[in-house]
Symmetry: C2
Subunit: 359 residues, 2 copies
């Protein structure tokens, strides 16, 4: 049975990427050994490491005045690394649009004068606050947003991100490489890799060079962007296999037509699913339409009992990891780059069948 | 051509472990998807995660009053995590026996009254200081040692570690699972996984429970042992694939007879090589005999020119990654658990041939 994996992260990788990894398990790039066994100071590894960085630069059109860092610790470590590295005046403004967004804010308040300027928690994060109405403070080091909220299925759109003179920082863990972003809109972008970049264990940071090197004295050496930038992210042993997988995945994205093609495919999939839900009296998505995520689609049936039945029967039909997050309930279909259009079609076909049998 | 990989880390994995990973690339534990694609909150992943911890506990005979944490960031992040978590009185003593040992000390001095009580830097780290002669301070939070010095090929032996009332902390990155250690001798053990445990990207911390929860206020949340212990190392997405590989490797170690069997095999390999070097007028190892490492064997030929020739010709013969670290020069054969006895034999045969051709 073909299995389609709707996990929110770690999430589906393209079969082609997994196949390439499988084929090289005992012989990476003609070395006669696995990528997992070779030194991170070897020429063979160095080529992969630099290709990974170059492909991120190419696919995201990262300008030359930005460093691309390959780190560990996930977005959660960046929740603290960001204020530790960027707070110079000691002030930053946050917009809180979900669980991780709130965590980022709660970590930052330990390090300076941090203000949450807007939150959508009043309606269980089912919308993105209108940032054009927010009076962000003057003389702040940065504004922090979370571009896509995995749990709640909301996202900023190109025209809804804050437009101010302040440095904009975004957690793009669930939108990086899935939709286009103009890097020059941001001072810093960070992302855990496990949704669209690579298996869990890699964190990508894209940071404007002039923002590097002003760390607070208490910032641990390993968390300093300057340490990592100076050493091309090879200050200590990097997560080599994850970076290798990222490189395979980036090659695949490039071959498919780049991030624009990914966005087009992701739009097609989520539009299909949103349209189906909106035209159904049985299924419901509670997110404000203009703020809907391109990759995470939460939905419910008329009852919690049916939700549970849905998840169970879907799994038996090979549609796995559809259970919604406990903070939202119901179901959630995460459809990142690795999810083929056929997977979304299979989900919709199952939803039709389930509705007929249970309404 | 059979390739034997003498890399110091990341380093050789058993073919059996790589084969198991390859076989499950598209279907992990009957899920129909790769371990790289499934949620870290799923039952299937949870089983691997807990098996990994249970196998470390079993194979290292870790007592119940110790937590086993699966983290990211490498030993380098622990250089700061250790003082941030353990300094309560604010004082610790370090013994410096190599490059990483010194880095650990240099990071720690930022956080308290830290004294380097002994160093072997006077003789380029070719010996382990006699710790029985050191007067460690009273009222310190811990003593820090590096159990095996990868670059210099030295190691503490069971009877040469400090025996005091103080909490003993050891960086065991290159000796963990390669030789037996009595965990109860230590308050905390940490290790980057990329030599004997798993591919790079995982850090193992084994810490006595009473030492958890006294973090300095400035310790980042992600670096707090209490955060990770409370969440069974699932506070955020862990490096799932590395943990899966660790589990496969731990199963293999168990099947081979456990850490005792690994130590026996590693002793056999390094004894063979040391004996050969000691009986040769051509090759030389500069380490004080009683302090020689079980897993890292540095050696030289009579000249730098011949060293370079040796490394090049060895590589052509399928004996790769033998170039010594720049701080030592010459060659270095790292022979961790993943190196079969045949690999050491092949190296010695090559060394004999090279000597005949070049003396």
């Amino acid at each position: 049975m073909k299995v389609y994996n709707f996990a929110a992260g770690p999430s589906a990788l393209s079969d082609e990427v997994l196949e390439a990894a499988k084929q090289q398990m005992f012989d990476f790039a003609g070395t006669g050994v696995s990528i997992m066994e070779i030194s991170h100071r070897s020429k063979a590894y160095d080529a992969v490491h630099n290709e990974c960085i170059a492909l991120i630069r190419e696919l995201m059109a990262v300008p030359d005045n930005y460093e691309i860092l390959l780190l560990q610790g996930g977005a959660s470590l960046q929740f603290e690394a960001v204020p530790l590295n960027l707070l110079v005046k000691g002030k930053a403004d946050y917009v809180v649009t979900g669980n991780f967004s709130k965590k980022a804010y709660m970590e930052a308040i330990k390090y300076g004068d941090i203000v949450c300027q807007a939150t959508s928690e009043d309606k269980n994060f089912t919308y993105i606050p209108d940032v054009s109405e927010i009076r962000f403070r003057q003389d702040i080091d940065y504004i922090h947003i979370t571009s896509n909220n995995t749990i709640f299925g909301t996202a900023y759109k190109k025209d809804s991100i804050p437009r101010t003179d302040a440095v904009l920082v975004a957690d793009m863990s669930s939108s990086i490489l899935a939709q286009q972003a103009d890097v020059s809109d941001y001072g810093l972008i960070y992302a855990g890799a496990q949704k669209n970049v690579a298996p869990a264990g890699l964190t990508v940071v894209i940071v404007r060079k002039d923002l590097i090197g002003h760390e607070m004295p208490l910032c641990p050496t390993m968390m300093k962007y300057s340490t990592q930038a100076k050493n091309n992210s090879l200050y200590n042993t990097p997560p080599c296999f994850c970076i290798f997988m990222a490189t395979l995945n980036l090659r695949w994205i490039k071959k498919c037509g780049g991030v624009a093609a990914m966005e087009e495919m992701n739009t097609l999939k989520s539009d299909m699913l949103y349209d189906f839900i909106d035209n159904s009296a049985f299924y419901k998505n509670s997110v404000v339409k203009k703020d809907r995520s391109l990759v995470n689609v939460p939905f419910t049936t008329p009852s919690q009992e049916l939700d549970a039945k849905f998840v169970k029967e879907a799994e038996s039909a090979g549609l796995i990891a559809l259970k919604g997050h406990r903070l939202v309930g119901g179901m959630r279909a995460s459809m990142y780059n690795g999810m083929p259009v056929e997977g979304t079609k299979a989900l919709i076909a199952f939803m039709q069948k389930f509705e007929l049998e249970n309404k």
